[in-house]
């Protein structure tokens, strides 16, 4: 158990909020910047990175390698404009991958 390093990456208006919780914030404007920010953070040993959905969706392939280990965690969070549905989509995709069907469809 170690004290965690946490960071939030995204557009200014979306992640500014996290500085109020004592979380390191990195402001980026496009997905290339977001990717390099995430990479540097991971290199510095950041364990949890909150990344806004739009960038997470664009960088899905590049971020896939972070799925394998317990840390780092790259967590997509909704933007200020509201959830894009990407994260819910991801949950359903996980479900389908794991069980072969989506059990939540009927709910």
């Amino acid at each position: 158990m170690t004290n965690a390093k946490i960071a939030a990456v995204g557009r200014h208006e979306s992640v500014l909020l996290f500085s109020a919780a004592g979380i390191e914030t990195v402001f980026v404007n496009d997905s290339a910047e977001a990717l390099s920010a995430v990479r540097t953070l991971v290199k510095n040993g950041t364990q949890v990175i909150f990344l806004t959905e739009n960038f997470a969706a664009e960088l899905e392939d590049a971020l896939r390698k972070y799925r394998q280990n317990a840390y780092p965690i790259v967590l997509p969070i909704p933007e200020k404009s509201g959830p894009s549905g990407y994260s819910m989509e991801k949950i359903n995709a996980n479900m389908e991958k794991a069980l072969g069907t989506n059990l939540f469809n009927k709910e």
């Binding site: 965690a4 208006e13 919780a21 004592g22 949890v48 394998q68 317990a70 965690i73 967590l75 479900m95």
Partner: protein, 205 residues
């Protein structure tokens, strides 16, 4: 199939491999069942948390933007400098089916106390501050739970592939090899018996 040597040794070896394979298959099947059970628990939690956060985070961001608009970026950053020393959560690991998955324990936040002065800050900032600090433990939990779901679903897919490979390829293949070898061995035995009978007849005449 016909590339194996129809010998007793080969037969014995294949039988041994078959028994190992079917034991492995059974174990993997059990693993799959248990993982599916665990996965359901986590994915339910994941969905519930995700819903909650999607509902609340946007409005908190909105409040922060208002605060920034009222106070100006520099003043806002100054006000929040102190909260940069806020308690950090602890990150650990726990095991599910011998997989290391993350577990995050949020440190007790200061019970909603505000760590900046009220003189030069907007009341909008208070609202945003309280909103995000109430959400943060949930965000950490979501991070851990969602990562666990990611890892579990990957592992389950791998396990399913293995189970299927064993069930539909390896095991039937070995079974037919065994059948082939036994048939061949019996054949050889018959032909040698016949040969002996023949020779015996020849010697008698």
């Amino acid at each position: 199939m016909a590339t194996v040597n129809p010998t007793r040794m080969e037969l014995q070896r294949t039988k041994k491999r078959l028994s190992t394979a079917s034991r492995g298959h059974k174990l993997l099947k059990d693993k799959q069942d248990e993982m599916a059970r665990q996965f359901m628990v986590y994915i339910r939690r994941d969905r519930a948390l995700r819903r909650e956060i999607e509902a609340l985070l946007g409005s908190a961001m909105e409040k922060m933007t208002l605060a920034e608009a009222q106070m100006g970026t520099a003043a806002l950053e100054e006000a929040l400098m102190i909260s940069a020393s806020a308690k950090k959560p602890t990150c650990g690991e726990t095991h599910i089916m011998s997989m290391k998955v993350p577990q995050i324990e949020a440190a007790p936040q200061g019970g909603g106390t505000i760590s900046y002065g009220f003189a030069f800050t907007s009341e909008k900032l208070d609202a945003a501050y309280l909103a995000i600090n109430a959400l943060i433990p949930k965000l950490y939990e979501l991070a851990a739970v969602e990562k666990t779901c990611d890892m579990l679903s990957d592992e389950m897919e791998r396990t399913r592939r293995r189970v299927n490979a064993l069930e539909y390829v390896m095991i039937p293949q070995m079974e037919s090899t065994i059948k082939y070898i036994t048939a061949k061995l019996e054949d050889n035995e018959r032909s040698s018996t016949v040969r002996l009978m023949k020779i015996k007849e020849m010697m008698r005449t």
